[in-house]
Symmetry: C3
Subunit: 214 residues, 3 copies
Protein backbone atom coordinates (compact mmCIF):
# COMPACT_ATOMS: atom_id res chain seq x y z
CA UNK A 1 0.00 0.00 0.00
CA UNK A 2 1.70 3.16 -1.09
CA UNK A 3 -0.93 5.73 -0.16
CA UNK A 4 -0.29 7.48 3.13
CA UNK A 5 -0.89 4.78 5.72
CA UNK A 6 -2.54 6.98 8.33
CA UNK A 7 -4.99 8.32 5.78
CA UNK A 8 -5.94 4.80 4.69
CA UNK A 9 -6.29 3.68 8.30
CA UNK A 10 -8.67 6.54 9.01
CA UNK A 11 -10.79 5.69 5.94
CA UNK A 12 -10.71 2.05 7.00
CA UNK A 13 -12.04 2.87 10.46
CA UNK A 14 -14.68 5.24 9.04
CA UNK A 15 -15.86 2.46 6.73
CA UNK A 16 -15.82 -0.07 9.55
CA UNK A 17 -17.83 2.33 11.69
CA UNK A 18 -20.44 2.84 8.96
CA UNK A 19 -20.75 -0.90 8.31
CA UNK A 20 -21.05 -1.63 12.04
CA UNK A 21 -23.70 1.09 12.43
CA UNK A 22 -25.78 -0.52 9.68
CA UNK A 23 -25.59 -3.89 11.48
CA UNK A 24 -26.43 -2.46 14.89
CA UNK A 25 -29.40 -0.50 13.55
CA UNK A 26 -30.92 -3.52 11.84
CA UNK A 27 -30.32 -5.58 14.99
CA UNK A 28 -32.11 -2.88 16.97
CA UNK A 29 -35.15 -3.20 14.71
CA UNK A 30 -35.28 -6.87 15.67
CA UNK A 31 -34.91 -5.90 19.34
CA UNK A 32 -31.65 -7.78 19.77
CA UNK A 33 -29.90 -7.34 23.12
CA UNK A 34 -26.60 -5.46 23.51
CA UNK A 35 -24.51 -8.52 22.81
CA UNK A 36 -26.53 -9.56 19.75
CA UNK A 37 -26.34 -6.05 18.33
CA UNK A 38 -22.58 -6.02 18.87
CA UNK A 39 -22.17 -9.36 17.08
CA UNK A 40 -24.31 -8.28 14.13
CA UNK A 41 -22.39 -4.99 13.89
CA UNK A 42 -19.05 -6.77 14.08
CA UNK A 43 -20.00 -9.41 11.51
CA UNK A 44 -21.28 -6.70 9.15
CA UNK A 45 -18.00 -4.80 9.51
CA UNK A 46 -15.47 -7.65 9.35
CA UNK A 47 -17.43 -10.56 7.82
CA UNK A 48 -16.50 -9.85 4.21
CA UNK A 49 -12.79 -9.47 4.93
CA UNK A 50 -12.86 -12.57 7.12
CA UNK A 51 -14.39 -14.73 4.37
CA UNK A 52 -11.78 -13.34 1.95
CA UNK A 53 -8.97 -14.17 4.38
CA UNK A 54 -10.29 -17.72 4.91
CA UNK A 55 -10.46 -18.23 1.12
CA UNK A 56 -6.94 -16.80 0.67
CA UNK A 57 -5.68 -18.85 3.64
CA UNK A 58 -4.20 -15.85 5.47
CA UNK A 59 -4.91 -14.90 9.13
CA UNK A 60 -8.15 -12.90 9.62
CA UNK A 61 -7.22 -9.21 9.40
CA UNK A 62 -9.18 -8.19 12.51
CA UNK A 63 -7.06 -10.23 14.93
CA UNK A 64 -4.00 -8.07 14.17
CA UNK A 65 -5.40 -4.99 15.94
CA UNK A 66 -8.09 -4.20 18.50
CA UNK A 67 -9.36 -1.33 16.32
CA UNK A 68 -12.19 -3.27 14.67
CA UNK A 69 -13.62 -4.50 17.97
CA UNK A 70 -13.33 -1.03 19.49
CA UNK A 71 -14.88 0.74 16.50
CA UNK A 72 -17.80 -1.72 16.61
CA UNK A 73 -18.25 -0.99 20.33
CA UNK A 74 -18.24 2.72 19.50
CA UNK A 75 -20.85 2.16 16.79
CA UNK A 76 -23.01 0.32 19.34
CA UNK A 77 -22.72 3.16 21.87
CA UNK A 78 -23.41 5.84 19.26
CA UNK A 79 -26.47 4.02 17.97
CA UNK A 80 -27.89 3.72 21.48
CA UNK A 81 -26.98 7.21 22.67
CA UNK A 82 -28.19 9.04 19.56
CA UNK A 83 -31.11 6.78 18.67
CA UNK A 84 -33.53 9.68 18.26
CA UNK A 85 -31.25 11.72 16.03
CA UNK A 86 -29.47 8.97 14.12
CA UNK A 87 -32.03 8.96 11.35
CA UNK A 88 -31.03 12.56 10.53
CA UNK A 89 -27.55 11.32 9.72
CA UNK A 90 -28.70 8.68 7.26
CA UNK A 91 -27.09 10.47 4.36
CA UNK A 92 -23.81 10.86 6.25
CA UNK A 93 -23.79 7.12 7.08
CA UNK A 94 -24.65 6.33 3.49
CA UNK A 95 -21.64 8.31 2.28
CA UNK A 96 -19.36 6.77 4.94
CA UNK A 97 -20.65 3.37 3.91
CA UNK A 98 -19.92 4.05 0.23
CA UNK A 99 -16.41 5.27 1.10
CA UNK A 100 -15.85 2.13 3.17
CA UNK A 101 -17.13 0.01 0.30
CA UNK A 102 -14.64 1.63 -2.06
CA UNK A 103 -11.72 1.14 0.29
CA UNK A 104 -12.64 -2.41 1.29
CA UNK A 105 -12.95 -3.40 -2.37
CA UNK A 106 -9.49 -2.10 -3.21
CA UNK A 107 -7.90 -3.55 -0.05
CA UNK A 108 -9.50 -6.95 -0.70
CA UNK A 109 -8.50 -6.97 -4.36
CA UNK A 110 -4.89 -6.11 -3.51
CA UNK A 111 -4.66 -8.71 -0.74
CA UNK A 112 -5.66 -11.36 -3.29
CA UNK A 113 -3.27 -9.89 -5.87
CA UNK A 114 -0.45 -10.07 -3.32
CA UNK A 115 -0.80 -13.85 -2.94
CA UNK A 116 -0.53 -14.23 -6.72
CA UNK A 117 -4.12 -14.88 -7.82
CA UNK A 118 -5.26 -14.00 -11.35
CA UNK A 119 -7.14 -10.71 -11.72
CA UNK A 120 -10.64 -12.22 -12.11
CA UNK A 121 -10.18 -13.90 -8.71
CA UNK A 122 -8.93 -10.61 -7.23
CA UNK A 123 -12.06 -8.82 -8.47
CA UNK A 124 -14.25 -11.45 -6.82
CA UNK A 125 -12.23 -11.16 -3.60
CA UNK A 126 -12.66 -7.37 -3.67
CA UNK A 127 -16.39 -7.85 -4.09
CA UNK A 128 -16.55 -10.42 -1.26
CA UNK A 129 -14.62 -8.02 1.00
CA UNK A 130 -17.07 -5.23 0.34
CA UNK A 131 -20.38 -7.03 0.08
CA UNK A 132 -20.33 -10.33 2.04
CA UNK A 133 -20.53 -8.67 5.46
CA UNK A 134 -23.95 -7.26 4.56
CA UNK A 135 -25.11 -10.70 3.45
CA UNK A 136 -23.98 -12.29 6.74
CA UNK A 137 -25.74 -9.45 8.60
CA UNK A 138 -29.02 -10.20 6.86
CA UNK A 139 -28.66 -13.96 7.44
CA UNK A 140 -28.12 -13.30 11.17
CA UNK A 141 -31.22 -11.11 11.45
CA UNK A 142 -33.12 -13.72 9.41
CA UNK A 143 -33.98 -11.53 6.44
CA UNK A 144 -33.49 -12.08 2.72
CA UNK A 145 -30.19 -10.28 1.94
CA UNK A 146 -31.09 -6.78 0.78
CA UNK A 147 -28.20 -6.51 -1.65
CA UNK A 148 -29.78 -9.31 -3.69
CA UNK A 149 -32.88 -7.26 -4.33
CA UNK A 150 -32.23 -3.54 -4.03
CA UNK A 151 -29.91 -0.92 -5.40
CA UNK A 152 -26.49 -1.35 -6.93
CA UNK A 153 -24.14 -2.52 -4.19
CA UNK A 154 -21.99 -5.54 -4.98
CA UNK A 155 -22.00 -4.53 -8.64
CA UNK A 156 -20.23 -1.30 -7.62
CA UNK A 157 -17.42 -3.47 -6.21
CA UNK A 158 -17.21 -5.43 -9.47
CA UNK A 159 -17.08 -2.21 -11.51
CA UNK A 160 -14.36 -0.84 -9.21
CA UNK A 161 -12.47 -4.11 -9.63
CA UNK A 162 -12.65 -3.90 -13.41
CA UNK A 163 -11.45 -0.28 -13.30
CA UNK A 164 -8.53 -1.43 -11.13
CA UNK A 165 -7.76 -4.14 -13.67
CA UNK A 166 -7.71 -1.66 -16.56
CA UNK A 167 -5.43 0.76 -14.66
CA UNK A 168 -3.21 -2.18 -13.73
CA UNK A 169 -2.99 -3.34 -17.34
CA UNK A 170 -2.03 0.10 -18.62
CA UNK A 171 0.50 0.26 -15.76
CA UNK A 172 -0.92 3.38 -14.16
CA UNK A 173 0.88 4.43 -10.94
CA UNK A 174 -0.34 2.30 -8.04
CA UNK A 175 -1.69 5.21 -5.96
CA UNK A 176 -3.65 6.48 -8.93
CA UNK A 177 -4.98 2.97 -9.62
CA UNK A 178 -6.15 2.63 -6.02
CA UNK A 179 -7.77 6.06 -6.00
CA UNK A 180 -9.54 5.69 -9.34
CA UNK A 181 -10.82 2.19 -8.46
CA UNK A 182 -12.11 3.28 -5.04
CA UNK A 183 -13.74 6.39 -6.51
CA UNK A 184 -15.39 4.23 -9.19
CA UNK A 185 -16.98 2.10 -6.47
CA UNK A 186 -18.11 5.13 -4.50
CA UNK A 187 -19.47 7.01 -7.53
CA UNK A 188 -21.29 3.95 -8.89
CA UNK A 189 -22.92 3.40 -5.53
CA UNK A 190 -23.84 7.05 -4.91
CA UNK A 191 -25.07 7.76 -8.43
CA UNK A 192 -27.09 4.53 -8.56
CA UNK A 193 -28.89 5.45 -5.33
CA UNK A 194 -29.26 9.10 -6.39
CA UNK A 195 -30.83 8.23 -9.75
CA UNK A 196 -32.57 5.19 -8.33
CA UNK A 197 -30.88 2.81 -10.76
CA UNK A 198 -31.43 -0.88 -10.01
CA UNK A 199 -30.45 -4.07 -11.72
CA UNK A 200 -33.39 -5.81 -13.39
CA UNK A 201 -35.04 -8.39 -11.16
CA UNK A 202 -35.81 -11.92 -12.19
CA UNK A 203 -39.43 -12.92 -12.09
CA UNK A 204 -40.86 -16.22 -10.90
CA UNK A 205 -41.57 -18.86 -13.50
CA UNK A 206 -45.07 -18.77 -14.98
CA UNK A 207 -46.11 -22.23 -13.80
CA UNK A 208 -46.60 -22.22 -10.01
CA UNK A 209 -46.66 -26.01 -9.97
CA UNK A 210 -43.14 -26.18 -11.33
CA UNK A 211 -40.94 -28.48 -9.29
CA UNK A 212 -37.28 -27.57 -8.90
CA UNK A 213 -34.32 -29.46 -7.55
CA UNK A 214 -34.25 -29.73 -3.83
CA UNK B 1 -8.08 -39.27 -11.05
CA UNK B 2 -7.61 -42.04 -13.56
CA UNK B 3 -10.85 -41.78 -15.53
CA UNK B 4 -10.56 -39.85 -18.79
CA UNK B 5 -10.02 -36.27 -17.64
CA UNK B 6 -12.07 -34.60 -20.38
CA UNK B 7 -15.05 -36.83 -19.63
CA UNK B 8 -14.86 -35.97 -15.92
CA UNK B 9 -14.54 -32.27 -16.68
CA UNK B 10 -17.65 -32.38 -18.85
CA UNK B 11 -19.62 -34.16 -16.11
CA UNK B 12 -18.28 -31.62 -13.60
CA UNK B 13 -19.51 -28.70 -15.69
CA UNK B 14 -22.87 -30.38 -16.33
CA UNK B 15 -23.30 -30.87 -12.58
CA UNK B 16 -22.20 -27.30 -11.88
CA UNK B 17 -24.69 -26.06 -14.47
CA UNK B 18 -27.55 -28.04 -12.91
CA UNK B 19 -26.67 -26.87 -9.38
CA UNK B 20 -26.41 -23.24 -10.55
CA UNK B 21 -29.76 -23.50 -12.39
CA UNK B 22 -31.43 -24.68 -9.18
CA UNK B 23 -30.01 -21.68 -7.32
CA UNK B 24 -30.98 -19.16 -10.00
CA UNK B 25 -34.52 -20.52 -10.26
CA UNK B 26 -35.12 -20.29 -6.52
CA UNK B 27 -33.63 -16.77 -6.52
CA UNK B 28 -36.03 -15.84 -9.33
CA UNK B 29 -38.98 -16.97 -7.21
CA UNK B 30 -37.84 -14.47 -4.58
CA UNK B 31 -37.48 -11.81 -7.31
CA UNK B 32 -33.76 -11.37 -6.73
CA UNK B 33 -31.98 -9.08 -9.17
CA UNK B 34 -29.44 -10.33 -11.72
CA UNK B 35 -26.53 -10.06 -9.33
CA UNK B 36 -28.37 -11.76 -6.46
CA UNK B 37 -29.45 -14.61 -8.73
CA UNK B 38 -25.86 -15.02 -9.92
CA UNK B 39 -24.55 -15.17 -6.35
CA UNK B 40 -27.16 -17.71 -5.27
CA UNK B 41 -26.45 -19.83 -8.36
CA UNK B 42 -22.71 -19.65 -7.78
CA UNK B 43 -22.96 -20.47 -4.07
CA UNK B 44 -25.24 -23.42 -4.85
CA UNK B 45 -22.73 -24.72 -7.39
CA UNK B 46 -19.45 -24.17 -5.55
CA UNK B 47 -20.48 -23.74 -1.89
CA UNK B 48 -20.14 -27.39 -0.93
CA UNK B 49 -16.71 -27.80 -2.48
CA UNK B 50 -15.58 -24.50 -0.97
CA UNK B 51 -16.57 -25.56 2.57
CA UNK B 52 -14.75 -28.86 1.99
CA UNK B 53 -11.62 -27.05 0.79
CA UNK B 54 -11.69 -24.71 3.80
CA UNK B 55 -12.00 -27.71 6.14
CA UNK B 56 -9.19 -29.55 4.33
CA UNK B 57 -7.08 -26.36 4.26
CA UNK B 58 -6.50 -26.47 0.51
CA UNK B 59 -7.17 -23.57 -1.93
CA UNK B 60 -10.81 -23.28 -3.07
CA UNK B 61 -11.15 -25.33 -6.25
CA UNK B 62 -13.06 -22.64 -8.18
CA UNK B 63 -10.22 -20.12 -8.17
CA UNK B 64 -8.08 -22.44 -10.33
CA UNK B 65 -10.23 -21.98 -13.44
CA UNK B 66 -12.81 -19.50 -14.72
CA UNK B 67 -15.12 -22.37 -15.74
CA UNK B 68 -17.30 -22.29 -12.62
CA UNK B 69 -17.99 -18.55 -12.88
CA UNK B 70 -18.70 -18.85 -16.61
CA UNK B 71 -20.98 -21.88 -16.24
CA UNK B 72 -22.94 -20.01 -13.54
CA UNK B 73 -23.29 -17.01 -15.88
CA UNK B 74 -24.53 -19.39 -18.57
CA UNK B 75 -27.04 -20.87 -16.13
CA UNK B 76 -28.28 -17.36 -15.34
CA UNK B 77 -28.70 -16.50 -19.02
CA UNK B 78 -30.42 -19.81 -19.82
CA UNK B 79 -32.83 -19.38 -16.90
CA UNK B 80 -33.79 -15.89 -18.06
CA UNK B 81 -33.94 -16.63 -21.79
CA UNK B 82 -35.93 -19.84 -21.47
CA UNK B 83 -38.02 -18.94 -18.45
CA UNK B 84 -41.27 -20.01 -20.09
CA UNK B 85 -39.98 -23.38 -21.21
CA UNK B 86 -37.58 -24.24 -18.43
CA UNK B 87 -40.23 -26.03 -16.43
CA UNK B 88 -40.51 -28.57 -19.26
CA UNK B 89 -36.92 -29.54 -18.67
CA UNK B 90 -37.36 -30.21 -14.97
CA UNK B 91 -36.66 -33.89 -15.41
CA UNK B 92 -33.53 -33.18 -17.47
CA UNK B 93 -32.24 -30.81 -14.79
CA UNK B 94 -33.11 -33.35 -12.12
CA UNK B 95 -31.01 -35.98 -13.91
CA UNK B 96 -28.12 -33.53 -14.49
CA UNK B 97 -28.34 -32.59 -10.83
CA UNK B 98 -28.20 -36.24 -9.74
CA UNK B 99 -25.21 -36.86 -12.01
CA UNK B 100 -23.48 -33.81 -10.56
CA UNK B 101 -24.26 -35.03 -7.06
CA UNK B 102 -22.64 -38.38 -7.84
CA UNK B 103 -19.52 -36.81 -9.31
CA UNK B 104 -19.15 -34.14 -6.61
CA UNK B 105 -19.43 -36.78 -3.91
CA UNK B 106 -16.67 -38.91 -5.40
CA UNK B 107 -14.44 -35.89 -6.15
CA UNK B 108 -14.88 -34.55 -2.61
CA UNK B 109 -14.25 -37.92 -1.01
CA UNK B 110 -11.07 -38.43 -3.02
CA UNK B 111 -9.77 -34.93 -2.27
CA UNK B 112 -10.07 -35.72 1.43
CA UNK B 113 -8.52 -39.16 0.92
CA UNK B 114 -5.58 -37.53 -0.88
CA UNK B 115 -4.65 -35.44 2.17
CA UNK B 116 -4.60 -38.58 4.30
CA UNK B 117 -7.87 -38.41 6.26
CA UNK B 118 -9.53 -41.59 7.55
CA UNK B 119 -12.40 -42.94 5.46
CA UNK B 120 -15.24 -41.79 7.75
CA UNK B 121 -13.96 -38.20 7.35
CA UNK B 122 -13.74 -38.69 3.57
CA UNK B 123 -17.36 -39.83 3.44
CA UNK B 124 -18.45 -36.73 5.36
CA UNK B 125 -16.35 -34.54 3.02
CA UNK B 126 -17.99 -36.20 -0.01
CA UNK B 127 -21.39 -35.49 1.51
CA UNK B 128 -20.47 -31.85 2.28
CA UNK B 129 -19.23 -31.41 -1.31
CA UNK B 130 -22.51 -32.69 -2.73
CA UNK B 131 -25.04 -31.32 -0.28
CA UNK B 132 -23.77 -28.18 1.47
CA UNK B 133 -24.23 -25.92 -1.56
CA UNK B 134 -27.98 -26.52 -1.47
CA UNK B 135 -28.04 -25.68 2.24
CA UNK B 136 -26.19 -22.39 1.66
CA UNK B 137 -28.60 -21.63 -1.20
CA UNK B 138 -31.61 -22.04 1.08
CA UNK B 139 -30.00 -19.94 3.84
CA UNK B 140 -29.39 -17.14 1.31
CA UNK B 141 -32.99 -17.16 0.09
CA UNK B 142 -34.12 -17.32 3.73
CA UNK B 143 -35.89 -20.68 3.57
CA UNK B 144 -35.56 -23.75 5.77
CA UNK B 145 -33.10 -26.00 3.87
CA UNK B 146 -35.17 -28.33 1.74
CA UNK B 147 -32.74 -31.23 2.02
CA UNK B 148 -33.50 -31.39 5.74
CA UNK B 149 -37.15 -32.12 5.09
CA UNK B 150 -37.70 -33.66 1.69
CA UNK B 151 -36.48 -36.55 -0.38
CA UNK B 152 -33.25 -38.48 -0.08
CA UNK B 153 -30.42 -36.14 -1.04
CA UNK B 154 -27.49 -35.97 1.35
CA UNK B 155 -28.13 -39.59 2.32
CA UNK B 156 -27.43 -40.56 -1.30
CA UNK B 157 -23.95 -39.02 -0.86
CA UNK B 158 -23.41 -41.02 2.33
CA UNK B 159 -24.49 -44.24 0.63
CA UNK B 160 -22.17 -43.51 -2.30
CA UNK B 161 -19.37 -42.86 0.18
CA UNK B 162 -19.94 -46.17 1.94
CA UNK B 163 -19.96 -47.97 -1.43
CA UNK B 164 -16.64 -46.26 -2.27
CA UNK B 165 -15.27 -47.43 1.08
CA UNK B 166 -16.27 -51.03 0.46
CA UNK B 167 -14.76 -51.01 -3.05
CA UNK B 168 -11.62 -49.41 -1.61
CA UNK B 169 -11.35 -52.05 1.12
CA UNK B 170 -11.66 -54.93 -1.34
CA UNK B 171 -9.09 -53.11 -3.51
CA UNK B 172 -11.29 -52.80 -6.57
CA UNK B 173 -9.67 -50.93 -9.47
CA UNK B 174 -9.87 -47.18 -8.86
CA UNK B 175 -11.92 -46.37 -12.00
CA UNK B 176 -14.43 -49.05 -11.10
CA UNK B 177 -14.59 -47.76 -7.52
CA UNK B 178 -15.28 -44.24 -8.74
CA UNK B 179 -17.92 -45.36 -11.22
CA UNK B 180 -19.76 -47.66 -8.82
CA UNK B 181 -19.76 -45.05 -6.06
CA UNK B 182 -21.04 -42.28 -8.35
CA UNK B 183 -23.71 -44.56 -9.81
CA UNK B 184 -24.78 -45.54 -6.28
CA UNK B 185 -25.37 -41.85 -5.49
CA UNK B 186 -27.26 -41.24 -8.72
CA UNK B 187 -29.40 -44.38 -8.44
CA UNK B 188 -30.23 -43.77 -4.78
CA UNK B 189 -31.30 -40.23 -5.60
CA UNK B 190 -33.30 -41.12 -8.73
CA UNK B 191 -34.99 -44.20 -7.28
CA UNK B 192 -35.87 -42.38 -4.04
CA UNK B 193 -37.59 -39.60 -5.98
CA UNK B 194 -39.19 -42.05 -8.40
CA UNK B 195 -40.67 -44.20 -5.64
CA UNK B 196 -41.22 -41.21 -3.38
CA UNK B 197 -39.07 -42.66 -0.59
CA UNK B 198 -38.33 -40.24 2.24
CA UNK B 199 -36.52 -40.50 5.52
CA UNK B 200 -38.87 -40.49 8.51
CA UNK B 201 -39.39 -37.03 9.97
CA UNK B 202 -39.07 -36.17 13.61
CA UNK B 203 -42.16 -34.79 15.27
CA UNK B 204 -42.33 -31.96 17.78
CA UNK B 205 -42.36 -32.87 21.45
CA UNK B 206 -45.81 -33.36 22.97
CA UNK B 207 -45.54 -30.57 25.53
CA UNK B 208 -45.67 -27.19 23.79
CA UNK B 209 -44.44 -25.47 26.94
CA UNK B 210 -41.22 -27.41 26.87
CA UNK B 211 -38.22 -25.14 27.23
CA UNK B 212 -35.07 -25.99 25.32
CA UNK B 213 -31.54 -24.65 25.49
CA UNK B 214 -31.14 -21.28 23.93
CA UNK C 1 -3.91 -29.40 29.19
CA UNK C 2 -2.83 -30.46 32.65
CA UNK C 3 -6.15 -31.52 34.14
CA UNK C 4 -6.77 -35.24 34.06
CA UNK C 5 -7.35 -35.99 30.39
CA UNK C 6 -10.05 -38.61 30.84
CA UNK C 7 -12.04 -36.29 33.06
CA UNK C 8 -11.86 -33.50 30.47
CA UNK C 9 -12.80 -35.89 27.68
CA UNK C 10 -15.88 -36.99 29.59
CA UNK C 11 -16.93 -33.37 30.20
CA UNK C 12 -16.28 -32.65 26.53
CA UNK C 13 -18.56 -35.47 25.41
CA UNK C 14 -21.26 -34.51 27.95
CA UNK C 15 -21.17 -30.95 26.59
CA UNK C 16 -21.22 -32.18 23.01
CA UNK C 17 -24.19 -34.39 23.85
CA UNK C 18 -26.12 -31.50 25.42
CA UNK C 19 -25.38 -29.18 22.49
CA UNK C 20 -26.40 -31.87 19.97
CA UNK C 21 -29.62 -32.56 21.91
CA UNK C 22 -30.54 -28.88 21.69
CA UNK C 23 -30.02 -28.95 17.93
CA UNK C 24 -31.97 -32.16 17.40
CA UNK C 25 -34.90 -30.95 19.51
CA UNK C 26 -35.22 -27.69 17.61
CA UNK C 27 -34.95 -29.59 14.32
CA UNK C 28 -37.74 -31.89 15.52
CA UNK C 29 -39.99 -28.86 16.11
CA UNK C 30 -39.50 -27.99 12.45
CA UNK C 31 -40.26 -31.61 11.49
CA UNK C 32 -36.86 -32.16 9.92
CA UNK C 33 -36.11 -35.71 8.80
CA UNK C 34 -33.54 -37.95 10.51
CA UNK C 35 -30.69 -36.67 8.40
CA UNK C 36 -31.61 -33.01 8.82
CA UNK C 37 -31.90 -33.45 12.59
CA UNK C 38 -28.49 -35.12 12.67
CA UNK C 39 -26.90 -32.28 10.70
CA UNK C 40 -28.45 -29.60 12.91
CA UNK C 41 -27.35 -31.49 16.04
CA UNK C 42 -23.83 -31.94 14.70
CA UNK C 43 -23.49 -28.30 13.60
CA UNK C 44 -24.75 -27.13 17.00
CA UNK C 45 -22.20 -29.34 18.74
CA UNK C 46 -19.12 -28.74 16.57
CA UNK C 47 -19.91 -25.54 14.66
CA UNK C 48 -18.34 -23.14 17.14
CA UNK C 49 -15.10 -25.10 17.43
CA UNK C 50 -14.98 -25.52 13.65
CA UNK C 51 -15.27 -21.77 13.01
CA UNK C 52 -12.54 -21.20 15.63
CA UNK C 53 -10.27 -23.78 13.95
CA UNK C 54 -10.83 -22.21 10.52
CA UNK C 55 -9.98 -18.77 11.94
CA UNK C 56 -6.88 -20.17 13.69
CA UNK C 57 -5.94 -22.14 10.56
CA UNK C 58 -5.67 -25.48 12.37
CA UNK C 59 -7.43 -28.73 11.31
CA UNK C 60 -11.06 -28.98 12.52
CA UNK C 61 -10.98 -30.75 15.89
CA UNK C 62 -13.81 -33.17 15.08
CA UNK C 63 -11.94 -34.96 12.28
CA UNK C 64 -9.37 -36.28 14.79
CA UNK C 65 -11.81 -38.68 16.45
CA UNK C 66 -15.15 -40.28 15.64
CA UNK C 67 -16.48 -39.35 19.09
CA UNK C 68 -18.30 -36.20 18.01
CA UNK C 69 -20.16 -37.93 15.19
CA UNK C 70 -21.06 -40.85 17.45
CA UNK C 71 -22.21 -38.65 20.35
CA UNK C 72 -24.42 -36.70 17.92
CA UNK C 73 -25.91 -39.98 16.67
CA UNK C 74 -26.55 -40.95 20.29
CA UNK C 75 -28.23 -37.60 20.91
CA UNK C 76 -30.46 -38.21 17.89
CA UNK C 77 -31.45 -41.67 19.11
CA UNK C 78 -32.08 -40.49 22.66
CA UNK C 79 -34.23 -37.61 21.46
CA UNK C 80 -36.36 -39.95 19.35
CA UNK C 81 -36.58 -42.79 21.86
CA UNK C 82 -37.39 -40.63 24.87
CA UNK C 83 -39.40 -37.94 23.10
CA UNK C 84 -42.24 -38.13 25.60
CA UNK C 85 -40.03 -37.91 28.66
CA UNK C 86 -37.26 -35.66 27.41
CA UNK C 87 -39.02 -32.53 28.56
CA UNK C 88 -38.68 -33.77 32.15
CA UNK C 89 -34.93 -33.66 31.78
CA UNK C 90 -34.83 -30.06 30.62
CA UNK C 91 -33.02 -28.96 33.74
CA UNK C 92 -30.47 -31.76 33.40
CA UNK C 93 -29.79 -30.80 29.79
CA UNK C 94 -29.56 -27.17 30.80
CA UNK C 95 -26.88 -28.02 33.37
CA UNK C 96 -25.02 -30.27 30.91
CA UNK C 97 -25.21 -27.48 28.37
CA UNK C 98 -23.80 -24.94 30.84
CA UNK C 99 -20.97 -27.33 31.76
CA UNK C 100 -20.23 -27.84 28.06
CA UNK C 101 -20.26 -24.08 27.54
CA UNK C 102 -17.72 -23.63 30.33
CA UNK C 103 -15.41 -26.33 28.99
CA UNK C 104 -15.70 -25.27 25.34
CA UNK C 105 -14.89 -21.68 26.27
CA UNK C 106 -11.71 -22.67 28.12
CA UNK C 107 -10.65 -25.17 25.43
CA UNK C 108 -11.22 -22.59 22.68
CA UNK C 109 -9.39 -19.86 24.54
CA UNK C 110 -6.39 -22.11 25.18
CA UNK C 111 -6.24 -23.33 21.58
CA UNK C 112 -5.96 -19.70 20.47
CA UNK C 113 -3.41 -18.96 23.23
CA UNK C 114 -1.33 -21.92 22.05
CA UNK C 115 -0.88 -20.43 18.57
CA UNK C 116 0.37 -17.20 20.12
CA UNK C 117 -2.61 -14.84 19.80
CA UNK C 118 -3.03 -11.92 22.22
CA UNK C 119 -5.48 -12.47 25.08
CA UNK C 120 -8.34 -10.35 23.68
CA UNK C 121 -8.33 -12.59 20.58
CA UNK C 122 -8.26 -15.69 22.80
CA UNK C 123 -11.33 -14.45 24.69
CA UNK C 124 -13.19 -13.94 21.41
CA UNK C 125 -12.12 -17.42 20.25
CA UNK C 126 -13.39 -18.91 23.52
CA UNK C 127 -16.70 -17.15 22.99
CA UNK C 128 -16.94 -18.30 19.36
CA UNK C 129 -16.21 -21.89 20.46
CA UNK C 130 -19.01 -21.80 23.01
CA UNK C 131 -21.64 -19.71 21.29
CA UNK C 132 -21.30 -19.87 17.49
CA UNK C 133 -22.71 -23.41 17.21
CA UNK C 134 -26.05 -22.19 18.57
CA UNK C 135 -26.08 -19.34 16.05
CA UNK C 136 -25.44 -21.74 13.15
CA UNK C 137 -28.20 -23.99 14.50
CA UNK C 138 -30.70 -21.15 14.44
CA UNK C 139 -29.64 -20.07 10.95
CA UNK C 140 -30.18 -23.66 9.71
CA UNK C 141 -33.66 -23.87 11.20
CA UNK C 142 -34.38 -20.38 9.79
CA UNK C 143 -34.98 -18.62 13.10
CA UNK C 144 -33.49 -15.44 14.50
CA UNK C 145 -30.60 -16.64 16.72
CA UNK C 146 -31.98 -16.96 20.24
CA UNK C 147 -28.73 -15.97 21.93
CA UNK C 148 -29.09 -12.51 20.38
CA UNK C 149 -32.33 -11.90 22.19
CA UNK C 150 -32.63 -14.00 25.31
CA UNK C 151 -30.72 -14.80 28.46
CA UNK C 152 -27.04 -14.43 29.16
CA UNK C 153 -25.21 -16.94 26.99
CA UNK C 154 -22.30 -15.63 24.96
CA UNK C 155 -21.65 -13.03 27.64
CA UNK C 156 -20.97 -15.89 30.07
CA UNK C 157 -18.16 -17.00 27.73
CA UNK C 158 -16.74 -13.47 27.68
CA UNK C 159 -16.85 -13.27 31.48
CA UNK C 160 -15.16 -16.67 31.74
CA UNK C 161 -12.52 -15.46 29.30
CA UNK C 162 -11.84 -12.33 31.33
CA UNK C 163 -11.56 -14.44 34.50
CA UNK C 164 -9.06 -16.67 32.70
CA UNK C 165 -7.11 -13.59 31.68
CA UNK C 166 -6.93 -12.30 35.25
CA UNK C 167 -5.80 -15.69 36.60
CA UNK C 168 -3.25 -15.88 33.78
CA UNK C 169 -1.90 -12.42 34.57
CA UNK C 170 -1.47 -13.20 38.26
CA UNK C 171 0.18 -16.47 37.20
CA UNK C 172 -2.25 -18.76 38.99
CA UNK C 173 -1.57 -22.49 38.47
CA UNK C 174 -2.93 -23.56 35.08
CA UNK C 175 -5.37 -26.17 36.46
CA UNK C 176 -6.80 -23.62 38.86
CA UNK C 177 -7.07 -21.05 36.05
CA UNK C 178 -8.96 -23.51 33.88
CA UNK C 179 -11.28 -24.54 36.69
CA UNK C 180 -12.07 -21.02 37.87
CA UNK C 181 -12.68 -19.79 34.31
CA UNK C 182 -14.97 -22.71 33.45
CA UNK C 183 -16.88 -22.34 36.72
CA UNK C 184 -17.29 -18.60 36.04
CA UNK C 185 -18.95 -19.42 32.73
CA UNK C 186 -21.20 -22.06 34.28
CA UNK C 187 -22.18 -19.92 37.28
CA UNK C 188 -22.87 -16.84 35.15
CA UNK C 189 -25.09 -18.88 32.87
CA UNK C 190 -26.94 -20.74 35.64
CA UNK C 191 -27.42 -17.72 37.90
CA UNK C 192 -28.57 -15.52 34.99
CA UNK C 193 -31.25 -18.04 34.05
CA UNK C 194 -32.17 -18.67 37.69
CA UNK C 195 -32.64 -14.98 38.47
CA UNK C 196 -33.93 -14.24 34.98
CA UNK C 197 -31.21 -11.68 34.29
CA UNK C 198 -31.07 -10.48 30.68
CA UNK C 199 -29.02 -7.92 28.85
CA UNK C 200 -30.98 -4.82 27.91
CA UNK C 201 -32.48 -4.99 24.44
CA UNK C 202 -32.15 -2.30 21.82
CA UNK C 203 -35.37 -0.78 20.59
CA UNK C 204 -36.24 0.17 17.03
CA UNK C 205 -35.68 3.75 15.99
CA UNK C 206 -38.66 6.08 16.46
CA UNK C 207 -39.06 6.96 12.79
CA UNK C 208 -40.38 3.95 10.83
CA UNK C 209 -39.50 5.67 7.53
CA UNK C 210 -35.83 5.70 8.43
CA UNK C 211 -33.68 4.35 5.63
CA UNK C 212 -30.62 2.37 6.55
CA UNK C 213 -27.73 1.10 4.51
CA UNK C 214 -28.52 -1.90 2.42
Amino acid sequence: MTLNVTFIQIIDLVGTFAFAISGVRLAARKEFDLFGAFVVGFVTAVGGGTLRDLLLDVPPFWIQTKSYVLVTLLALLVTIAFKKWIVKFNYTFFIFDAIGLGLFTVVGLEKSLAVGNPMWVNIIMGCITGAAGGIFRDVLINEVPLIFRKDIYALACIIGGIVYWICYRIQAPIVLTQLIAAISVILTRVLAVHFNVCLPSLSPEPDPNSKSKE
